[in-house]
Assembly symmetry: C2
Homo-oligomer: 358 residues x 2
């Protein structure tokens, strides 16, 4: 039997930064996110007779010795299965003994875009395995998380909160759906060149946890309030407040990176131009667009569908985007003025869709 799923990536609106357990990937704080529908992993998993598990991504075989997390994921999934078999059948045999996972995945992420493709990838593997061997939701969520922390947020549609939990074994650490989809939400992802050599997020989180006093304060006093504000603004469809918290939290996350020793920089000149463009677009009235940046220079601009054309017209007067990408969203916009920054790619997407079985 082969199970095929499609799982979207997700973008955090209140960010996760820092682990309380690196092995189990337990975060220091809760985070909250939306899926980005257009960027996804399509993944098939089957259990087959072969010497070892195999993973192929976009037609290329993954070396499981240098990418250890796949094996961790497979082992945990099989452990859950054995546990269940043991409970149900009072210790009798497991009918999958000797079978190995064969994973075939394709993604539509732009190559080296610095977008969180691993989150969608591990969420897709976990969901396919969940269906294939019959894990419950909590088990599948854990399998996704130990593959790539934020993958657990891609297991649901709508607004999703990843609870950090406090238990050492991580049994109270999982993602839950907080709210249904907000149908008019869209995002525009501006893919910029990475100008700096990136500090990987695992290394960056470790460094911030060890050296940033502001991170400790953020985790203890600010994150939960912000998540509550996001959930409330989302519930009320109050875009102005929603945007305010999203931008503040993106900025605070990058502030924490700067408060780290040695300091970490993810925002490039182009990122800052995009920030200026959004701040300018929001002047004089209610906020109509919100930027958010993960551990890289690329911007995700969140806005309601009714404001997409206006924003694009305004943004492309200062940031040049590939004309083919632009024409997919609008054919009436011409990029004429002197650009102050250039994006390699522009992606347009709805937000909040759940993963699906194909």
């Amino acid at each position: 039997m082969s199970v095929t799923v499609r799982v979207p990536m997700n973008i955090a609106l209140v960010k996760y930064w820092g682990k309380r357990d690196e092995k189990l990937i337990l975060p220091l704080n809760d985070s909250i996110s939306l899926t980005v529908d257009e960027l996804c992993a399509e993944t098939s998993v089957e259990l087959v007779k072969q010497d070892d598990h195999t993973v192929s991504i976009n037609g290329k075989e993954v070396d499981l010795e240098s990418n250890k997390r796949y094996r961790t994921v497979f082992n945990e999934a099989l452990r859950f299965q054995r546990k269940r078999a043991h409970e149900k059948e009072n210790g009798t045999s497991n009918n999958n003994i000797g079978l190995k996972f064969k994973v075939t995945s394709t993604t539509n992420f732009p190559v080296a875009a610095g977008l969180a493709s691993s989150a969608a990838g591990f969420a897709a593997i976990s969901m396919a395995i969940q269906i294939l061997i019959g894990l419950d939701e909590t088990q599948a969520n854990k399998v996704a998380r130990i593959g790539s922390g934020s993958a657990c947020r891609s297991m649901f549609g709508g607004l999703v909160q990843w609870k950090s939990g406090i238990k050492d074994d991580g049994t109270d650490c999982f993602a839950i759906k907080v709210n249904e989809g907000w149908n008019t939400l869209r995002c525009l992802i501006f893919v910029f060149d990475g100008e700096e050599k990136k500090v990987g997020s695992t290394e960056g989180m470790r460094r911030s946890s060890q050296t940033s006093d502001l991170l400790k304060y953020r985790i203890e006093h600010l994150v939960d309030k912000r998540i509550a504000k996001i959930a409330e603004a989302y519930e009320k469809r109050d875009f102005d407040e929603f945007a305010k918290v999203i931008m503040s939290d993106s900025n605070q996350f990058h502030a924490i990176c700067l408060d780290t020793s040695p300091p970490i920089r993810y925002l490039s000149d182009a990122s800052w131009k995009l920030i200026e463009v959004v701040e300018k677009f929001n002047e004089n009235g209610k906020r109509k667009a919100a930027y958010t940046f993960d551990a890289g220079p690329n911007a995700c601009v969140i806005l309601e569908d009714q404001n997409v054309q206006d924003f694009l017209r305004f943004a492309t007067s200062q940031i040049v985007v590939p004309i083919d990408d632009l024409n997919k969203i609008s054919t009436s916009i011409t990029q004429t003025e002197q650009p102050i920054a250039v994006a390699k790619k522009l992606i347009y997407s709805s937000m909040g869709s759940p993963p699906t079985q194909l």
Copy 2:
């Protein structure tokens, strides 16, 4: 009678950001600084019969209507004088009635360098007035402060702490000398181009005070500890610890700017290159150099004299500096490798000298 003084600029090692009173320029937190000997204002003040106060800087008359702080400074100085005359002479007349201040100042700051020339300028005016009309130290310190907040830190040599105080009238807000000069300390100031339109520090401080949760935490819980650490490391001549706190505090100040809504950016690409150079220079052993950035892209690198040549050799392999500036410090260094950033000017200075009467 004319009084002439020379007053150096100062650079904060633990930064001041945010005012508790904008009119009296009372800061939200203490700060601690060293003077930069080579950059200074040379200022003569006399009391003369003329229609109004006059200020000339580098041969150019200042418009006192659009630069209101000069008048504030003069009025406060004269108020102190009248108060003293009143106390001493039991209400008899003031022999300076009708006389006005004539200020003539020259500075050696590179034009538009974004260095804190106003701090040295107002400190110089205040010190000259102090001698001219006989103010006490606390009075002169206040006069300097209401001209330009950090000017009060240029009124002494050595390590100087500006106490924020808590009183509404600011009578407990003044700078004090914490320690004598550390004779081997030097600084190298890399003047970079300002790539961004700068948010002025008055506006920036206001915005951060109103919107940054991290600033509140910094002020309440971190600043005093850092000042104590700086004072202790300075006392012990423990450069490694001294450098650690200086760099952390510079980074935290810029993190606060980023945690502001809308976010404020003072560090340019070139600033970040300099940060990388210093972090790299400090790898594998005790720290031998420390960067600090005020509200602009220019770097002040603090180090001991014995490490100046090594650092310069290392830094100029990646950051090009004007050859004339370099030759003043070393004639044995050639800038050969591919530069990753370019400085417009390099200034070399001792640190910690007091202002002097000429």
